[in-house]
Every structure is written in C-alpha cells, then in structure tokens.
Amino acid sequence: MELTAFDNRTAIRDLASTLSNAGAATKAVDVHAAMSSVQRTAMFIAAFEFAAKIPEPIVLQIGTSVPELIADICSMAVALEVGAPGHEMTARLSSAATAVASGEIGWLVATPPEPAAMTTVTTQIAQATALGLVTRGVLVAPMPRKSDGWPRKIREGARERVRELADHLFGVTVLRARAGNGPDFSRDDDHLIDPSVTKNVEGDYLLSVTIPGLQSCDLEVGVWSMDPSYPSTHLVLRLDGVTARIALDPTLRRCVGVEAVVAGDTITVPFVPDPGQWPTGKNDDDGEGEVAV
C-alpha cells in the first residue's frame, strides 16, 4: 500500500495541534517542510494503526526519504513525551516510535545500479541504522540484461557497482535482481544496530556502535538528557542532517561523555563516571562503595 493512502485530515490536525501545545510549532523555520513533515508523520501513524488491526504484515511503499520520516517520528515522540505527557496523540506517536525501535518494522530498500542513487542509499542506510530501524536488505534492480541487448561492459560495470555497495554496507544484505526476478529477503537478513559497552583499565566505560555506510556521512556526535537527574540519557548522532538518539543504559546515564573516536564504520565514546552520581562510601553504613548496576 502507498503511504499516501493513509492521508487523514483528523490525524494531521490532532498531531499539529498537540505539537503546538508542546511548544514545537514555535520553533518551525521552514513552514512548508514542517507541514509536509507533520502530514507524513500523521500518515505513518494511521498506517501503523491500520496494520496493528490485521494479522498479516503489510508492505508500505514510501517514495520519500525513509530515514527522514523515521527521524521525524522519533523526534516528535520525544518532544511530545516531554511537552505533552499523557496526551492521546503522545501515546499514539510513542507506540509507532517504539515499534520502529523494537524491530517490528523492517525496511527493504530498492535502488538501480547507478552511482548517485547508490551513494544516496549508502547514506540512508547509515541514517536508518542509527535511528534503530531494522534493515532487511538492499535490492539492486533493474540490472542490465544480455537478453535485452546490453553490452558486456555495461553488464559487468553494474555488477561491480553492486559488489562495491555490498562492501560499503558490510553487514547489510545486498542482492541484485537476476534474470529479471527479485531475490527473496527473509528475517534472517535483518540488520539492527547493536551498541556494546566495555570497561577499560582506567574504569571508564566505552560505548561502541557500528553503522554500515558511516564513512559516507557527515558526522556529529553528542550527548543529551531528557531527565535532569542525569548528565545524559541519550547518545545523539547526526548523520548528514538526520538526528538519531540512542538510549543509554543506567550505568552510562551516570557518566559523562568525553569525546567520539571514529574508526571506519565504528564510533566509540568513552564515558567517565560522574562523581556526583556515584556514592563514595564515606557515608555508607556498611562502609562499602559498590553500587549494583
């Protein structure tokens, strides 16, 4: 089904109104972009709620940037959770955002074997991965076929580009159409971001995330807190203008991010424990300073 099939005036009005009450509308600079964003998000919510009512999975065709759509959904969900907690629209938007982050929604990307399109897809896969969206795979089609009269040089060039794309997106399934038929993608092909935390000898925690396609993106890394009790609750990644937030575990919430070290497609952020967040043991009755995390 097309996303536009879920164009619902009431949902758009409710979402725009709730965002306004949360203070978000006062920040809008590009009114046209903001209107389009609200409309797309409302359509996605309607599609998500429609899909939740039927047992079979549905396939939704989205002709615009999927990472931008997902980023809008996640950002609006955070804005409403802070600015309009308990509101019906907040709950509806949060449900859709949670489904994205929990892997219930998979993304299958299609691209022709054309350099500009493949560069766009590489960037979008990186953005979507950072947003927590499951990528089922990349389908490269249509491929030039001998039976259609394409010379060998063109056919080999297209196949080489598919190999290059697979190298750039290591970890993501990249398959090309063969003899005019699309390959099968299954849940076994799903790729999902998998942050890991280790502790070094100095006692600092190292958060590492690997994002296929990262090297083709302009990158900014930061930390952000939606709870004033903690120095930070989320790692923030901005990839070519798309902002993604990765929730920190309880241990890292009590630490301070220092810098971001980037090697290939991997980002490592050292977190130093914040003394104000960790008991020193001086006032503890049992004299021990250990804290279970």
Partner: protein
C-alpha cells in the same frame, strides 16, 4: 541493436564520464533522486493545500470567525502555542569532539 544501446541508460550513468551525449536523461543522473523526491513532496503538499480550501483564506478577517479555514485554524493554534510556555524545556545537545583513529 541500435547505436544508442552502447550508451548506458539513465540509471547507469557514470558521474566520472562527461555528460556530452546530448541526452537530458544522462545529464540529470546525479540529481534525479532529489528532484523526484522534491517533486513528490511538492505535489503531495499542493494537493493537500488545494483540497483544504486554504486558497479562500484571502477574504477572511478575524480567524475566530472562520473555523473551517485551515489558515485561520493554524493562526489560532499558533497564537495559543506562543502564549503558553512549554511544560518542560528540552535540554540542548552537548556535542563532543571527534577524533579519527
């Protein structure tokens, strides 16, 4: 096969080759995606705009007198939003220095 089959189709255009083939489809190879996306969004917004009746707004005075008009409705909502402070301020992102290993 005709001669033009020796030229890659538009979706196989190579950025490194000069676009001197006189083909407009080849020339647009590096920007087709953005152009089509923009076109789609503009078309979508345009249809919505037309169906909303917003073009009738020019003759409206007090927004409160025209609750059926999307522009008047937006002005009322904006007025409400700007007159009431958000419940909680979102904190700023603290950007970290990046070191390439």
């Amino acid at each position: 096969m005709s001669d033009d089959i020796e030229r890659p189709p538009w979706w196989l255009s190579d950025n490194e080759e000069p676009s001197d083939q006189g083909s407009s489809s080849r020339d647009s190879g590096s920007s087709w995606d953005m152009a089509s996306m923009l076109g789609m969004v503009t078309s979508m917004a345009g249809e919505w705009w037309a169906s909303s009746g917003a073009s009738d707004h020019a003759g409206h005075g007090d927004p409160a007198d025209h609750p059926e008009c999307v522009i008047c409705k937006g002005l009322l909502v904006l007025g409400t939003a700007t007159s009431v402070a958000p419940v909680t301020e979102l904190r700023e992102v603290r950007w970290l220095p990046i070191r390439r290993a």
